[in-house]
Every structure is written in structure tokens, then in C-alpha cells.
Symmetry: C2
Subunit: 413 residues, 2 copies
Amino acid sequence: MINVAIMGYGTIGSGVVEVLEKNKAEITKSAGVAVALKYVLDLREFPDSPIADKIIHDFKVIEKDADVQVVVETMGGLNPAYPFVKASLLAGKHVITSNKALVAAHGTELLAIARDKQVNFFFEASVGGGIPIIRPLYRCLTGEKIEEITGILNGTTNYILTRMDKEGASFAGALREAQELGYAERNPEADVEGRDTCRKIAILLSMAAGKEVNYEDIYTEGITKITDVDFQYAEKLGASVKLFGTGRVEGDQVHAWAAPVMIGKSHPLYMVNDVYNGVMVKGNMLGTTMYYGSGAGKLPTASAVVADIIEAVQNRHQNVAFGWTGEKLEIADMDTSVHRYFIRVAGNTAVNKVRVQEALKAEGIIWLEGLDEFAVLTEKMTEKDLKERLIPMEAVFQSQGEDGVRQMIRTEL
Amino acid sequence: MINVAIMGYGTIGSGVVEVLEKNKAEITKSAGVAVALKYVLDLREFPDSPIADKIIHDFKVIEKDADVQVVVETMGGLNPAYPFVKASLLAGKHVITSNKALVAAHGTELLAIARDKQVNFFFEASVGGGIPIIRPLYRCLTGEKIEEITGILNGTTNYILTRMDKEGASFAGALREAQELGYAERNPEADVEGRDTCRKIAILLSMAAGKEVNYEDIYTEGITKITDVDFQYAEKLGASVKLFGTGRVEGDQVHAWAAPVMIGKSHPLYMVNDVYNGVMVKGNMLGTTMYYGSGAGKLPTASAVVADIIEAVQNRHQNVAFGWTGEKLEIADMDTSVHRYFIRVAGNTAVNKVRVQEALKAEGIIWLEGLDEFAVLTEKMTEKDLKERLIPMEAVFQSQGEDGVRQMIRTEL
């Protein structure tokens, strides 16, 4: 029998207890041995819960109990998750976490300790909730050069953008709806500013490249500036706007960003709507693959944690190679990344249109009835090139007392 | 160093050689040791090829060479693939195959020999080409009760149906186009009659259930009777028609079929078009996940074979548990499966419409301008129930000299 301790009896922690109980037969069969819950660490008491007698408040009980072989961390945040996880690994215990902040900030160190101690540090649930995406990277795409990994990694923002797309909702209205349904936090900043997506793409890129990625190197832009007008243009273009986390190999450089991107109906992530997540992986031999499912939610996320527990039990006497080393991955400056841009400009006059088309190497003009503005899609160019073209153009608009550029969204059109 | 022998230097076999060469560095890193090609077994000579000196014609050379640890079977068919694979496993060699016919017919026996000999028999490439789907079932969804697995598993038929959907092509026209592009064989029967899909869903269902599935127990219906008129109705319904392979747990029963199904835009497999494949897996905790990618093609399929080679090398001293036992999975009679049906009936008269609506418990009538027929969507009912309702209805039509039912397609609407 293998004993598990769960740290943090919140949504995911209690979900893990539920999955361990409900799917006991499947888990025992896959793990090859029974998996029993021994402790649940939480500050609170749960006197009426079936796990009331397993609640403890002192981490040292877990750390010192040699009969606990697997520790599950579902507390979130860095403190005390980080010291507890580190101490558990140093005590020779396998650790499973659903905590993207912990993995993005300390993954390299914790994986090194796990290797050193010949235990495992698994974190499938930290990205994409229940979607298997970490494990395919180290189990399935093992013979590939990964050229790109792009995901819709945040359910909250995807719900908001879907409502804006399908119902013409405003950003504020869609956010309020998401909050009422419990999909968005009271303070939604980490989601809508792209910080959650940034950490998740950092983890995926570390896995794909086998190197340490500093998430602070990743260009991050949220969705707060996306408006219902952008979606009106998108509809005319047969497109939508999604918050992407992307890591892309371009020649010798690696670019990475968390940012809104306008995509067409043929993009494999176009149909990833509402709170669902999807991750697209391009390999040099394999081409494009895509993984789709519930990006959050109690039971799907808990299911991913339990799959990690099973793999830890199957490999309880050895460290499974992850390939994520301490070598630093250099992320190239966002200015050198190449995109095609969707640009909205104020002033629906023929002179303005010609000026913008010439300045931005744009072909057609997109115009929506009743608006005092228009939009263009530029040629593909670097962000540096775009900025250098925008500066003199904006200067002319300003000299004439006009507004100029109202919006810029990168596209995959 | 690990030595590999490839049996069959056709499209996939030569693709494996190419991937082993082009991604040598990644493969060595993942496998933890260099992987070298020692023999290529083929009836032909390839004097101008870089592998000319590795070509052999006698399987016994591979069987008797103790330095060959991994054998790749990319010949296809059952003879001599089956005796060669069996002999390789009995000789203590790991075997990787891309051959769905072999796995569907002899998977149980070959997996048992592999367990017995403490080697591995892997077949990721036999279903879904490059898409990781076999491995997620035994590596990722290990703590789940799988409730349904449904795939678009055949690129040829998906290409044909996509052309019929997007361009209004006839079945014959789309098939001809697919043949001209090399997507369909000169004799396309195994694809268009659903036999290829049947074998692939049998393999997936065996993996999901951990039991032996006799593919002959799976109800199989091809796409040859699907017409451009069906797609005109589908368009009006915001739907499409796809060839599905499905295994579904319903209470105590397991149903399985390979058949055309009409699905709406919100179905996760709706956007799987052209030669792409997609597999949807529903777990009791995880909910719906979906896996998408190139279902065929030289390099994607070869990449899946190479991932299997790497896993065999990583586990060269142990048998990886697959959970596919010799226990038989009983597939319930198709008559007891429950669907909502799309039914087209000749004779666009008010009397006929009322008669059909009443007989089939259908709500609305779908009618396309200019056609001497109409269609209905029934309530959900068993196939047995449907047949019992159709018989007296057809009798009335016949007594009046009318055509009656022109089409029946199961739906997920």
C-alpha cells in the first residue's frame, strides 16, 4: 500500500480525495498497488467531513512520516507551498502539484532535487487542468523537434472572449458575467492581464525545450483593451480573438508571448470556446497536433493530479527523466518577432486610408458601416519594423489633430 | 547503443529511417542511448538508397541476431507480419508496429507474449497516425473510468466527407478527387466501407476497457450511401456528417460502431476536416478531452513509431503494463443502442409528414426547396424501437406505391 498526504483541502485537494475514492478500483489496477489517503494538511478543521480524522495542521507530521511516499500539493501560491514541497522532496517523497506559480518559479530546482533523491516531481495539473499536455511532451513527442507550442491556457479569459465573440458583450459585461458564474475571481487581474497564461506557457516551453525559462522574459499583454468593436471586425474577417500563450522557434531564436491573437476558422484552436482550454504543438516531423479539454474545474484537475500519483507509484523506485535541465533558454526580444497585424485607425477618410495602407504595407481596407474609423491587415513584419512605420504615421495624424491608431492586435490570418 | 531492424521499407518504414536520421540528437537525448539502424527487411533492393547496405531479405537474420533489440514492423497485412512479429517477441525483442490489422486481430496474444518475455509490444502508430492516443490511454487517463471514446480515424473518408460538405461534391466525385491526390487507394473499399475505422476503434476500445475486443462484433457501416442531398440537409441544420468509430459505456452495456454520424458545430470533432484525425475521450472525472492531428502521412506516422522505439529503449529491461488482458469484452447488440435519427422520406405531402412525425416521434419537419421529399429528426430511441416503428410505416407507403424512407443517419444532435 502507498500512503498519500494532501496539502491544502480546497477545491482541487477535495477533488483529489473524491477521485481517489470514486475510482479506487481503476487506480489500484493502474498503480498496481492500493493508494490510501493518510493525511490532509489544512489550517481549518472539517469536523463533518469523511476526512475529519485525517486532518493535520503541522507539516512536520508529513515530513517525518516515512510511511508517506507521495505528497500532493494543492495549496497554491509560493508560501508555504515552496518550502513544504522542497522539504518533502528532500525527505525522499514523491511530490505532485497543481500549482503553476510554484512550477514556473522553482521548477528547475525542484526537478533537480527530485533527480538527486531519485523521486519524482510531477505537475500535469499545473497547465491545462485535466488536459494531458505535460505528459505527452515527455512521453509521446519524445523524438520531435518542437517548433511551436501555443495554447489557450486560461479558462476565465477564454470565457470572456467567447461571450464577446458570440453575444457581442463588452469586456466589462462579459467579465461581470464570468464573476457571477464563479469563472472569474473578484480580483481578476492575474487572468485578464495575461499573467496566468504567461506562467503556463513558461512551463510548457521549459518542457518542450528542456531548459529553464524565466517567465519574466515572456512578453505579456492581457485582454483588457480588447473591445466589442474588435470582434465586429473579426466577424467580418471570419475570425475571432483568443488569448494565446506561445513559444515559437524561428531560426536560431525562440520567441514567446502571452497576448491576444486574431485567428481564422481554420486555426486548430478556433473552436476552443468558453472555459475550455486547448494546446497546439507543432513538431518538425509530426506536424500539428492539438489537445483539448477542461482547463480547470475540480474533478478534471483532480483527475490530472491522480494520473500523476499513479505514475509516481508506478515509478516509486526511480526518477522519470523529464529533460528539463538548469540550462537557461534565451527568449529573443519581442521586437524581433514577426507577425501580421490588425490595426484600427480613426478617421474614415480616403486620405487616411491611403496613408495607412502605404505606411503599413497593408492591402485591403476593412470598414464597418457607421464607424468613424477603419482597419487594415499589414504584411508580415517584425514588431520593430511595425513600430518604425507607426511613428512617422502617428506624427502626421497628431499634426492634423487626429486620433490615429486605436488598436493593434497580432494575427495568425 | 541499441540496434533497430525495420521490416518493410514502404512509406512508413522509409519515414522511420528519415526521422531516426533527422532527429538523431533528440532521439538519443530522450532514449538516453544512441539508436542505430542495423537492418531493413524488404523483398526489394534499394541500390541507390543510403540504406542499400542494410537491406536483407531473410527474416531469420533479424530473429537470430542477439544485437537487434528492437524490431519495427511496417509491412502491413497479416502475413508475414504476424509470424515475424510473434517470432521477434519470442526471441526476446521489443516490437513496434504501425499495423492496425495485426493489432486488431492478434493484439491480445502478442501483448501476452511480450509480458511473458518481459519485452514491449507498442502500436501507437496503428491508430490516428501521428496523434498520441494509445499512450495517453495507458499513461495519462490511468485513474479514469472511460465512458466513451469516439474518433474520426480514417483520413480518406474524412477527406471525402469534407469535400462533400464544403464543396457540395458527390460521393463519387470526392472519391475520385481523393484517389487523384493519393489520399484514397485504387480499391478504396476498406476505407469507405468502414472496415479500417472498425479495426481502429476495436484497438482503442481494447485499450480503454483493458479487455479483448473482437472487431467482428462491432457494427460497421460505410459512407457509400451518404449523398450530397444529406449534406444539404446537414447545412440547414448547422451540422455535418462524419464517419465515427465509437465505443460507449451505457449502464452495464458497451456499444460500439463504425458508422456515419450527423453532428453539430459544438461537437469537439466537428472541426476535424480533410485528412486530419481526431479522437474524443470522455472520462467519468475528467469529462471530455480531444486529441487532434495528422491521421496518416509518412512522417507523422513515422514520428509515432519513433516515440514507441524511444519508450521501448527507455523500458528495455521491463514490460510496461498496458492493462489489455485476454478477458473478452462483450459488445451489446446494436439494436439496443440509443440514438436520435435523421430520416429522409419520399413524397413531400402533408399527409406523409403527419404520418412520419407520428410514427417516429419526430418534432419538426426539415424541407429543402425543390425536393420531392422531407426529413425529420426523431426522438432518442433504441435501434430496435426505430425498426419497429419503421416497419408499419413503410408498409403503408408501399401499399400506396410510394418510396418511403430514403435515408437513415444516426445523429449527435
